[in-house]
């Protein structure tokens, strides 16, 4: 089989991973908190897409129009009610809190939706077309990738051109100085967490048509999101974007040339290797935390 096949599917899947990684990285940058509930927020996005499809008959890609604002509000409130209480606390408290919130979400999902995996089958779920003769490109993956690109561009413009976006960047570069500029950093934290949640849920919704939807589905994505953030340099949004693509390609390559059992192991090895040898990330300049 051509080397291009895993490369292209890897890039397409990686785009969606990138979205999850960017969300986590933004939260880390602005709040200096590692969000261990990020994977579970993705899982919520999967279920939101699933139920919009089965109950409201809305196409999973169209349902993003609903899912994004709902997830943003959910994340915003979650920050206001829980996360902001630990923002000045030691990291172990923050980890306990976000792990706890994640457990509550996944276990609530277990109770509500049972542990039976659900499958979201659209008319195009398994459709694909051929490129250069022998490379098959999955239609839902391609759509997800294009939507990811669109969202990333919008996010980039938001962060670089709008007052709120610039205030978010300022807060992430120097929280105290941002405060001295008259920026309400508490509000910025809530907005960052809202955006992070929206991105996680979007990533979840985008992969819903191609994955099993399961209450514990978020856990494997949490490790990926972490690896992506670390790879891109914690807090760097652009780095997370590139990191996501890299992880997608690495996974696709290891599934093709080794076996799909190996792909999680390889991701984990990359995670450790980056932490050991390049904690500032591939593109980072600052010292690692």
């Amino acid at each position: 089989m051509s080397f291009l096949q895993p490369l292209i599917s890897g890039i397409l899947t990686g785009g969606v991973y990138a979205l999850a990684g960017i969300g986590m990285s933004l939260v880390f940058g602005v709040m200096n908190i590692s969000n261990f509930a990020h994977g579970d927020l993705m899982m919520l996005g999967m279920y939101l897409a699933f139920f919009s499809f089965t109950l409201l008959h809305i196409d999973p890609y169209i349902s993003l129009v609903l899912i994004i604002p709902i997830a943003f509000m959910f994340g915003y409130m979650m920050e206001k009610v829980f996360i902001n209480r630990v923002i000045h606390h030691p990291h172990q408290n923050q980890i306990l809190l976000t792990v706890g919130l994640g457990l509550i979400m996944s276990n609530t999902a277990l109770l509500a939706f049972t542990s039976d995996p659900k499958i979201l089958t659209t008319t195009y779920s398994s459709s694909a077309f051929n490129l250069f003769g022998d490379i098959s490109v999955s239609v839902p993956l391609l759509l997800s990738f294009l939507i990811t690109c669109l969202i990333t561009v919008i996010l980039y413009l938001f962060l670089s051109k709008t007052a709120t976006g610039m205030a978010l960047r300022a807060t992430s570069q120097n929280r105290e100085a941002a405060q001295l500029m008259g920026i309400n950093v508490a509000k910025m934290s809530a907005i960052a967490f809202g955006i992070g949640t929206a991105l996680a849920a979007t990533a979840g919704a985008l992969i819903a048509p191609t994955y099993y939807i399961h209450p514990l589905a978020g856990h494997s994505f949490l490790l990926k999101a972490f690896t992506i953030c670390v790879l891109g340099g914690l807090g760097s949004v652009v780095g997370a974007g590139v990191g996501g693509i890299i992880i997608g390609v690495v996974e696709a390559m290891s599934s093709t040339y080794l076996s799909s059992d190996w792909k999680d192991v390889i991701v984990f090895v990359i995670f450790l290797a980056v932490l050991l040898f390049r904690p500032q990330g591939l593109f980072g300049k600052k010292g690692g935390q």
Binding site: A167, A177, M181, I183
Partner: protein, 231 residues
């Protein structure tokens, strides 16, 4: 204008400022001098709302004790922190725009004001803050403060680590800023220069004010001479 009475502040369990009394009137340059760790930066942080305090800080008859830092900026108290705290991955212009975050309608006018004060910044509009030299960063930090339309400007060791030439530029700028109607509270270790441009000054030692007077009085004070001027 600013009235501080019996101010106590610190970090968690650690008490730093003890029973500070200090006033600043409209149009003044007031210096606070003292050695390392005396509590000078802590005083500015209490005024700008970065840390909590007990006692009274009143600004134009309004108590600042319940106000958040971003609201205090809105009231016209702008703090240029020690160590500059430039946004490293933003350009010079972006850094200045962040300084004008709360008064966007004056942004163009204030940008010109900053570029008049520090022509060097005008030549470096698109340079990233993090790649500037210490002296240039200090100019940027002061410029960023001016973008916020301050009525009272709090400056924390603006001459720290600067060459004599840059120090001259910075002190000259402080004079110009003050002449344009901005009241200045200046924290410095460069005691001679700062008292020289100040109307009044305070000497702070381990969190207490031990001496106060006009700039000239303090410069001629025997204890000040011995402790800070090496005479």
């Amino acid at each position: 204008m600013l009235d501080i009475k019996n101010l106590n502040a610190g970090y968690g369990e650690m008490h730093v400022l003890r029973a500070i009394d200090l006033t600043i009137s409209q149009g003044e340059v007031v210096s606070v001098v003292g050695s390392n760790g005396a509590g000078k930066s802590t005083l500015l942080k209490a005024i700008s709302g970065i840390i909590k305090f007990t006692g009274m800080i009143t600004w134009n008859n309004e108590s600042l004790s319940s106000l958040k830092a971003h609201t205090i900026v809105q009231r016209g108290i702008v703090h240029v922190p020690e160590g500059r705290k430039i946004f490293p991955e933003m350009t010079v212009v972006e850094n200045l725009m962040m300084g004008g975050f709360l008064c966007k309608k004056d942004q163009q006018k204030n940008l010109e004001r900053v570029f008049d004060l520090f022509p060097k910044l005008a030549q470096r509009r698109t340079q990233l803050g993090g790649t500037m030299s210490g002296g240039e960063q200090q100019m940027l930090a002061i410029g960023r403060g001016i973008m916020g339309n301050p009525k009272l400007l709090l400056l924390d060791e603006p001459s720290l680590g600067l060459s004599p030439l840059f120090t001259e530029v910075v002190f000259g700028a402080i004079r110009t800023i003050n002449t344009s109607g901005v009241t200045v509270l200046l924290v410095e270790q460069n005691v001679y220069q700062s008292l020289n441009i100040s109307h009044r000054g305070y000497v702070i030692e381990t969190g207490r004010i031990v001496l106060t007077g006009t700039g000239e009085e303090l410069l001629n004070n025997q204890d000040v001479k011995k402790a800070f001027l090496g005479m």
